[in-house]
């Protein structure tokens, strides 16, 4: 049906509004099942409009994506739960588009978009956290497939995912950035064992994934052998943007829970807590406006390191706000809801107890890039300050201290 559409360069806001209206007319958003509706949206090129025609896109300017999303949202069209599909939509899809061949893209993008297939990310390892390039999960070529052995950690959705994006070490004899290769991994394949990873909150949001003799066809490789680091950079750049990009209403997020408690519980108020509350209100509003300003910029332009700044700011805010919430609650702050081991389907700090928020927020400055790493990124990429002195650049991976 792509032929029915004008050329990429010709796409305008009005043209896209028309296309959306056509789709909505043909598929009632209220009655059409989510997967079917999203399938139609994909086929109409209205999924990622800057993607190529036939792959969920129209080759239209990325700057118009927001408008399309808003049109569908206004019509109450179904969307996927970002908690379950965020990794696929935010990280896997751009990587598949950038590095997958035609077979890969046509096989994986549509079910990813429709939500029929869940994705997870097999990157971090116990010995490779901030230093992802230190990872040691081995992939050894065997005919037209690869045999993978190793351990990954902090894997969201591993127990629900059908597919994973996976970075491995294929050559330990060269410096670490050079010897990595990136694959699509079938989470249902023999040798893939998923174990829940329990965290300080008592529940297990994440997993450890043990890979033992897992066979991956070479056809599921993304990018060249030894080029895995560059592929992974594409994935991670999109992650930071995904985190930093969304706007919030005033008193959205955790600050709203704190202010509500303050307003509803005069008995808890003290002068010292009042000033602390106001300081955090100011910081939260500043972060909100900064996110809004960033969103206005990104609507047009490309993702930048500003996403790192937003993540940095929100990690600190969430920790300070949830900490003050417990102090404000006083005696009630000494309690917890439930320590029993659980696997939350869709964890959210807003949904949890104050104690849960306090503990879970500690992870905000570690997951998806520690605050220390983000400060380095800002210092080096934004401010142009010298990189850390590297002692591992010219050493074969196998010879690095671990």
């Amino acid at each position: 049906m792509s032929t029915a559409h004008p050329e990429a360069t010709a796409w305008t806001a009005d043209g896209l509004r028309t296309a959306v209206r056509e789709l909505l007319a043909a598929h009632d958003p209220a009655s059409t099942p989510t997967a079917e509706f999203l399938g139609a949206r994909y086929d109409a090129g209205l999924a990622w409009i800057h993607f190529p025609v036939g792959l969920g896109g129209l080759g239209a300017p990325r700057s118009l994506q927001q408008l399309v999303n808003e049109e569908f949202a206004a019509a109450g069209a179904p969307t996927l739960d970002p908690g379950r599909h965020g990794i696929g939509l935010g990280m896997a899809a751009p990587t598949l588009l950038a590095f997958g061949d035609d077979d890969i893209r046509s096989r994986f993008l549509r079910p990813l978009w429709t939500g029929e297939e869940v994705w997870c990310q097999l990157f971090s390892e116990p010995g490779a956290g901030s230093d992802l390039a230190a990872l040691g999960t081995r992939a050894v070529r065997d005919g037209d497939s690869w045999v993978v052995d190793g351990q990954k950690v902090w894997t969201s959705l591993a127990h629900e995912a059908h597919w994973a994006i996976l970075v491995t070490r294929t050559d330990p004899t060269v410096p670490k950035h050079a010897g990595m290769t990136y694959f699509i991994c079938d989470m249902t394949a023999p040798g893939v064992e998923v174990r829940p990873l329990r965290q300080a909150t008592g529940e297990a949001e994440f997993n450890e994934v043990f890979l033992t003799g897992v066979r991956i066809p070479d056809a599921h490789r993304l990018g060249e052998v030894g080029n895995g680091w560059r592929v992974a950079q594409t994935t991670l750049m999109n992650e930071r943007v995904a985190i930093g990009g969304h706007a919030e209403p005033r008193e959205g997020g955790l600050i709203g829970l704190l202010t509500r408690t303050w307003r509803e519980r005069p008995d808890l108020r003290t002068p010292g807590l009042h000033d602390a509350l106001l300081r955090l209100w100011v910081d939260a509003e500043a972060a909100r406006l900064t996110g809004e300003r960033l969103r206005q910029q990104l609507a047009a332009g490309q993702p930048g390191p500003e996403g790192s700044a937003a993540k940095l700011a929100y990690a600190r805010l969430n920790q300070q706000i949830s900490g003050l919430e417990l102090e404000l609650l006083g005696a009630e702050g000494l309690t917890y809801d439930d320590w029993t081991f659980r696997r939350p389907s869709n964890p959210s700090m807003e949904g949890g107890s104050p104690g849960y928020r306090y503990l879970r927020a500690k992870g905000n400055s570690i997951e998806g890039g520690t605050s220390e790493i983000l400060r380095n990124i800002i210092a080096e990429r934004v401010l142009g300050l010298p990189q850390e002195i590297r002692v591992d650049k010219d050493v074969a991976w196998k010879d690095l201290p671990k």
């Binding site: 005033r250 307003r263 002068p271 209100w281 500043a286 809004e292 300003r293 910029q297 934004v382």
Partner: protein, 381 residues
């Protein structure tokens, strides 16, 4: 009355999303102002000027008015202004802050102009908008929006009597807008006969003066609620826009320090290669980026007369005062000894930043104001 309307009791800001970007026109304007300041107000001259008889650069002020025409940006054309808005004025303030320029812009083109606009004054406004005359608002520079109407000056038989201490940009003012009590009733008067005694100020790039009125004649500009409203509009607009000047100060501190630590070597390495320095500057960059959004929001709010203007102004001062002081303090620290010397301009920015953090109310007063504006009542209520 014009100027910001009363804020609604709700905590949600106005629905139409605020424009937090810089328009092309605003960027154009920035280039012109920056070029003028680079040519006419090098820091070395500004530093020398702080010890001279006249710390204020009146020639530079005239250039801003006559050559660039930026002294009346927020004034409608019918009143002799450029018919732009406070948003563009804020961009000028960013550049004046970045150059720590010693001109009475804030006092005349912001505080006094906002008061005149709010009072629908039409006689004085064109002269002030053109920069031909310098006006100042005769209130203590530390006065916060919402403070009680000042009782420093009294009007008896149409003449003004009294003193106002620590007033900004009054040393070179031709005319003052004086809040006074006439028979106990608030009034705002334009006064040309006064003595301004120079005050040794922490920030000598914006020197303060003590004002005295000994039976000075005054022209009534506003009275009663209109006078109260005009003063409130001036202080609220000032608080909102001062954040843009503070942003410029913070940007200078950040950029100058980043450049210095790239050049300065210790232990055979650029100082900027040490991670503690990198992280401190990264955190500062995050804060300055946030301040930019906060200052743009405040400028946009007062420009549009948003119902959220008072919140935006209090937020701007509560946030800008902390970030800008921290930025200039970091600049001194990361410059090491040289940043502590008289010859290096860092101290001019430190003094401007600390003074601005007190001007129009300290951060804690603005936080207290927010408590009332966004319904976060204090324990005593």
């Amino acid at each position: 009355m014009e100027g910001p309307a009363e804020v609604s009791p709700t905590v949600t800001p106005t629905d139409e999303a605020p424009d937090l970007q810089y328009s092309e026109v605003e960027q154009e304007l920035r280039i012109h102002v920056r070029a003028l300041l680079a040519a006419r107000a090098p820091q070395s001259e500004t530093l020398a000027r702080t010890e001279s008889e006249q710390p204020v650069d009146t020639a530079l002020w005239r250039a801003l008015g006559a050559e660039l025409g930026v002294t009346g940006l927020a004034v409608p054309e019918k009143s002799g202004g450029a018919g732009a808005s406070w948003r563009e004025t804020a961009v000028v303030l960013e550049e004046l802050g970045r150059a720590v320029a010693p001109v009475p812009f804030f006092g005349s083109a912001v505080l006094a102009t906002a008061a005149l606009l709010a009072a629908d004054e039409t006689v004085l406004l064109p002269q002030v908008a053109s920069g031909a005359r310098v006006a100042a608002l005769a209130v203590r520079f530390a006065t916060a929006p919402g403070a009680a109407f000042p009782a420093d000056v009294e009007v008896r038989d149409g003449l003004l009597y009294g003193r106002v201490r620590l007033v900004a940009d009054a040393r070179t003012a031709d005319v003052l807008l004086v809040p006074a009590l006439a028979g106990g009733r608030p009034a705002l008067l334009a006064v040309e006969e006064f003595t301004a005694t120079p005050v040794t100020s922490l920030d000598m790039t914006r020197p303060l003066a003590d004002l005295a009125f000994a039976g000075a004649p005054g022209r009534l500009v506003a009275e009663g609620d209109e006078a109260v409203g005009a003063l409130d509009a001036a202080l609220t607009t000032g608080a909102a826009l001062l954040a843009s000047e503070q942003l410029g100060v913070a940007e200078w501190a950040l950029e100058t320090t980043v450049a210095y630590v790239k050049e300065r070597h210790q232990f055979g390495r650029p100082v900027g290669s040490f991670q503690a320095v990198k992280h401190r500057l990264a955190d500062l960059w995050v804060s300055v980026a946030q301040l930019r959004a906060v200052a743009r929001y405040a400028a946009d709010a007062v420009a549009g007369g948003s119902p959220d203007a008072k919140v935006a102004a209090a937020l701007a001062q509560a946030f800008a005062s902390q970030v800008t002081v921290a930025a200039t303090e970091d600049a001194v620290q990361l410059h090491g000894g040289i940043g502590f010397t008289w010859e290096h301009p860092a101290h001019l920015y430190l003094k401007r930043a600390k003074s601005a953090s007190i001007a129009l109310g300290t951060a804690d007063r603005h936080r207290a104001a927010l408590a009332g504006l966004v319904d976060l009542p204090s324990p005593t209520l």
